[in-house]
């Protein structure tokens, strides 16, 4: 009897310790985001006071209005949507083509091609920054959308090609064979059958690409040099106040929340797929 009792209390204590750990972990990972939200809703008089503020006493949306009226932040959002959107679509198309060729077609040099594409994912971006700047300047692409989209495609192709290649390999070859018997060309099979069948893979890969392009900073900082051409990460990094010394932190946090909430929502909705995609991209050998 006693033995069972002590076993049960031991188990209960274990559970309590586990929950304490879970709560500490949650606070650590979520708190900075929470703090940005409360700061964005706090009026300046409260924000710039020397006390710990965990929630606003007089919440206000003023910071959210100011971020759009005092600066071209909506333009920055539009820039990011265009650049990240175009990058996602083009990387998916190019990546699906290359991934299909490597997964399914009988051709020489596959290992070399795949190695070349994957090698790009390990490139230190700063190593090609200067030369790329010169090339884009000669092509008159500095401060244009294509000037940012083109490098972004190259940066994202390793991931899209790799994940889609894995997806295509898992589709039974018999489906393609029966399409071939019905007189379907290989390209048509890819377009009409393989791509629709891999829709879940395309969604996951597209989401990862979109997040990566939306978050990229160094190229955006270097190739987009006008404030109205800034993407969101650059606009937020370059945030400045009316005077040199005081940064409008409330507005800055409002901007941070505006661009983060859609991402967080996407991540929460698609979390299972994202986890699968991340681990497939990194672990699958």
């Amino acid at each position: 009897m006693d033995l069972i009792k002590s076993y049960k209390t031991k188990k209960r204590i274990g559970k309590i310790i586990l929950y304490i750990f879970v709560i500490i972990m949650l606070i650590f990972y979520v708190f900075p985001f929470y703090y940005a939200i409360t700061s964005s809703l706090t009026p300046n008089s409260e924000l710039f006071s020397k006390s710990i503020k965990l929630f606003p006493k007089n919440p206000t949306f003023k910071n959210y209005i100011l971020v759009f009226t005092e600066r071209p932040f909506h333009q920055n959002i539009i820039n990011s949507v265009i650049v990240a959107g175009a990058t996602t679509i083009l990387s998916l198309v190019f990546g699906a083509f290359a991934g299909y060729a490597v997964a399914r077609l009988k051709m020489p040099g596959k290992v070399l091609i795949m190695s070349l594409i994957l090698a790009v994912s390990m490139f230190p971006q700063v190593s090609i920054l200067g030369a790329l700047f010169q090339i884009l300047r000669n092509m008159r692409l500095i401060n244009t959308y294509p000037g940012l989209i083109l490098p972004y495609i190259a940066l994202n192709l390793p991931l899209t090609t790799w994940i889609l290649h894995n997806f295509f390999k898992d589709i039974p070859i018999s489906i393609e064979e029966s399409a071939a018997i019905d007189g379907c060309s290989k390209f048509m099979t890819l377009w009409r059958i393989i791509i629709p069948l891999s829709a879940p893979g395309l969604v996951t890969t597209g989401l990862l690409t979109f997040i990566a392009a939306w978050n990229e900073f160094m190229f955006a900082l270097t190739f987009m040099q006008l404030p109205e051409k800034y993407t969101v990460p650059v606009a937020i990094a370059m945030f400045s106040g009316k005077t040199f010394y005081e940064l409008p932190w409330g507005q800055l946090m409002a901007a941070a929340v505006i661009v983060t909430v859609p991402l967080v929502a996407l991540v929460l909705i698609f979390q299972n797929k994202i986890v699968a995609g991340l681990t497939a991209g990194a672990v699958k050998g």
Binding site: M25, Y35, I135, P233, A256
Partner: protein
């Protein structure tokens, strides 16, 4: 007859494959491989980006100059310190997080989703969020440290070299430990529970189960995750550039030479030499990475 058809099909395959791969190869050649070759070529010259600066061939002089550049050496050491500490902290914290997420508790799915938040936030945004928490007048982290008496009131965390290094490390660990945790969690979930049951019947303690079952089975995943993160940490730019310009990493210093100084003097060739050195350092790690992954495509 039959061989003829086979050859016919193969040729068709090769042509289709060529056209399918062409866009991807063009994109990476124009924006990755060609710039890399150009960077190496540029590193052999002395020139700037402003018109009027005479371009002259200097051979490997730029590389020799690097050895005596204390700012370069400091940024190299900073990067290495950052890499070692951040990757080890992320690993320990990521492993703890993965073990917690692998246990059974209410709302586990929601908690797993919640820890993805730091990963999803753009680094530039999270850098600013933390910069606000570190603000020397009104930041919550500063306030807590002042109240605890660990820091003299009004001390700016981000202006001292070592305190800002630790502050930045905290941000990086916060941002990337979740990613590490998810990789490790995927590995943990492949371990059959029968192994633990058998060990428990044999009377093995929890710690013994962890070191004799969990760690050995998890080690390939751990290796990949560590190398993956090391490559990222060596390239670190965003956090240091935004949070503090007094502690430089290789990438921050390199960009400063290439994009700020190259417009005022003949610095571009020198900056290109730094780029090449960074590329070589990371290549060494990348080769280890490829070897450990043992890539196969058939």
């Amino acid at each position: 007859m039959s061989t003829k058809i086979k050859i016919h099909y193969k040729k068709k395959d090769i042509w289709l494959g060529f056209w399918l791969i062409l866009p991807a190869l063009l994109a990476i050649f124009i924006t990755a491989f060609f710039p890399l070759i150009k960077t190496f070529w540029d590193s052999l010259f002395s020139f700037g980006l402003r018109p009027g600066i005479v371009k002259r061939f200097v051979g490997f002089d730029n590389y020799i100059r690097l050895i005596n550049d204390t700012r370069f050496m400091t940024s190299l050491i900073n990067t290495l310190i950052f890499t070692v500490i951040s990757v080890s902290l992320e690993f320990v914290l990521g492993l703890i997080t993965a073990l917690i997420l692998n246990a059974d508790f209410a709302l586990r799915g929601l908690v797993r989703a919640a820890i993805l938040i730091p990963w999803a936030i753009p680094t530039s945004v999270s850098s600013q969020m933390w910069k606000w928490m570190y603000n020397d007048q009104y930041g919550i982290v500063s306030q807590i440290l002042y109240n605890l008496g660990w820091l003299a009131p009004g001390t700016p965390i981000l202006s001292n070299k070592w305190s800002s290094m630790f502050a930045i490390l905290a941000v990086d660990v916060w941002k990337t430990a979740p990613f590490m945790a998810l990789l490790l969690l995927a590995g943990l979930q492949t371990i059959p529970s029968e192994l633990y049951e058998a060990a428990r019947i044999d009377g093995a303690s929890g710690w013994k189960q962890f070191t004799k079952i969990t760690l050995p089975i998890l080690s390939p995943t751990i290796a990949v995750a560590l190398i993956f993160r090391t490559l990222d940490a060596l390239r670190v730019f965003d956090i240091f550039y935004i949070m503090n310009k007094s502690v430089e990493t290789l990438a921050v210093y390199n960009r400063h030479i290439l994009m700020d100084r190259a417009f005022t003097g003949a610095w571009f060739g020198y900056g290109s030499a730094i780029s090449v050195v960074i590329f070589l350092i990371i290549s060494i790690f990348a080769i280890i990475y490829i070897r450990s992954l043992n890539l196969k495509f058939e």
